[in-house]
């Protein structure tokens, strides 16, 4: 199994009271699977993704990626794992503003010791996400949708085993949303598992499974095309 999430819990303090933003969540993902997570705003989706990438420390539970418990790795190994096995597209704009689009995409390659040169692959990825013409631009000159594509291209530069995307289609127009979802589906088809948070009810069409979150818990796992269910809650 590529990803095993067991009893994953994260507590936050709200005033004096502790509450669970993520509450004993368990699920698994296989190689090349495309899974989406839906749920109301504040239901804990981003917190869950941040736990899985190891960016947040859990209050309880474990995450195994490729058989390794990510919370037990030291800084070096954990950094290498994020660098080489995980791709992450955050909910907020995350391009480095002082680097060109091209350099933003090339960057992960240089964060661990490697031979070779990522420029060709970076150019190909920019082509695939449709912003090859912006390679030399700086992030400040790009629109929100274009920045999302930069983030996606950057997350894929090292062919990760798992791509995690937090609302990659928010703020995008219908046409662009469709393009991004289709692209992610094609990524999954080529073997990189994709775990995506989205508000798009239509997204389920592209996914193998959709998970629903409510108040930190996974309340429902729908497979196939669960259109209609929960739509009113989103």
């Amino acid at each position: 199994m590529l990803l095993e999430v067991n009893q994953l819990t994260r507590e936050y303090k709200r005033g004096r009271e502790a509450f669970r933003a993520v509450d004993e969540v368990s699920f698994t993902m296989a190689d090349g699977e495309f899974v989406s997570i839906r749920g109301r705003s504040g239901s804990g989706k981003s917190t869950l993704l941040n736990l899985i990438t190891g960016l947040l420390q859990p209050t309880g539970g474990s995450v195994f990626l490729d058989g390794e418990n990510i919370f037990e790795l030291d800084d070096r190994n954990y950094s290498y794992l994020r660098n080489s096995k995980l791709g992450y597209v955050s909910q907020v704009q995350s391009a480095l503003s002082n680097l060109t689009v091209m350099d933003n995409v090339r960057l992960p390659f240089f964060l661990s010791k490697r031979d070779g040169e990522p420029s060709e692959r970076a150019a190909a990825l920019l082509e695939q996400v449709g912003i090859a013409h912006l390679a030399k631009a700086y992030p400040a000159q790009l629109s929100g949708g274009e920045l999302k594509r930069v983030a996606i291209a950057r997350a894929l530069i090292l062919s990760p085993e798992l791509l995690i995307a937090d609302e990659p289609t928010c703020d995008l127009d219908l046409q662009t949303t469709k393009e991004v979802l289709e692209f992610l589906a094609s990524v999954a088809q080529r073997g990189t598992a994709v775990l995506m948070v989205t508000h798009e009810a239509d997204a389920s069409e592209y996914c193998n499974r959709t998970l629903f979150m409510e108040s930190g818990k996974l309340v429902h796992i729908a497979s196939g095309n669960p259109s209609g269910i929960f739509c009113s809650a989103i």
């Binding site: 941040n50 990438t53 960016l55 947040l56 420390q57 800084d75 070096r76 950094s79 290498y80 794992l81 994020r82 660098n83 080489s84 992450y88 955050s90 907020v92 995350s94 391009a95 480095l96 503003s97 002082n98 680097l99 350099d103 090339r106 960057l107 992960p108 390659f109 240089f110 964060l111 661990s112 490697r114 031979d115 070779g116 040169e117 990522p118 420029s119 060709e120 692959r121 700086y138 950057r154 530069i157 090292l158 062919s159």
Partner: protein, 414 residues
Amino acid sequence: MSQQEQSPKGSKKKLGIITIACCNLKKKAVRTSCLMGLVAVLSFTLFSGLILTTSLRGGMESMRQRLGADFMVVPDGNQAKFEGALLRGEPGTFYFGRDTTKILSDIEGIIKTTPQFFITSLSTDCCSYQVQLIGYEPKTDFVIAPWISGQLKKDLEKGELVVGSKLEHQVGDTLKFFGREYVVAGRLQETGLGFDTSVFMNFDTAENVLDDAKIKGIHYRFNKGDSISAVMVKAEEGYDVSAINNAIVDRLREAGIKADVVASRTIVTTASDHINQFIFYVKVFSVMLWVLAVVLLSVVFTFSVHERKKEIAVLRILGATKGKLLQLIFGEAALIGTGGALVGLSLAFLVLFPFSTLISLTLNLPFVLPPPQRIAFLAMLSFLLTGAAGPAASVSSAYRIVKNEIQATMREGE
């Protein structure tokens, strides 16, 4: 990984941490130049301060070692003028009888005496400024001779000159005083004393100069053939300053000669006090400036942490280790530090060395630049100290960034 077998294409630059640091600095050019400017001021001050203090100490040391005379006797009331001439080459004239030399040489404990004779040149004569002309007696002299660079072919003859190190005239050149030309027969090494801007000649030549001065209508109050300006005195090894001083005063009073006695130890001590005070101020000022720079840089770095936090979080997400993040933070700070330090040092070199004479004149203190190795060492020291101000100032922000939970930083950066 699939890209490992990709062949390197073209000359795409590597995106190491230092390259990223450079990009960050370049894109924030105004901020970067302000910070570098601050560091430049620091390194300029530090290096100049070090050079000044070392030069003053050097001047002091050379004065102590090389002021051949232990006592100098000058006409009553002219001590200040004489010190001005001796230490700073300020032209001055004053005279008393030549027999003073003989009287002094008879005192027990005094082993050598030699007379000197002071004349002031006209500023229009040889040089753009007034020069102190010093007549001395090559036969008995022990003050000037040790300074003559190389060897005079023979004793200084009538019509020949020896020039101080700051005069540009070379051996064989001629200098004109009161309408007559004289030949340079020798040069002095740098003394850090007023000698550096003085011109030396024997008594015959000096009288010649005075005769010409008279023709030009300039009268010095002296008796031809009998006047001198100062007697330089060398005492026995391990002499007692006040004993000799008293003996000189007593003997001259008996002879009816009114004179001031200047002990070189006292001059040196007084000058030393001045210099030590100056050095103290330079030190305090440098330390204060260093602290100020570090504080200012810290504030700027901490303020920019907000924006940096997100960048740091992104790098972390992409797989940068904590070590790499530290490299980035300190790398940028070090680039600012070293860049600023280099600018400051270059400016200091441009200002200090061409104007060292002017500086010594302004400070009114003996001044000898240290040898090149010492200058290089001081430059290196200032470079390291100021270069370190950048990293020192970013310690706290680096610590905060590395300590923070990354998701939290990602949010705060929004």
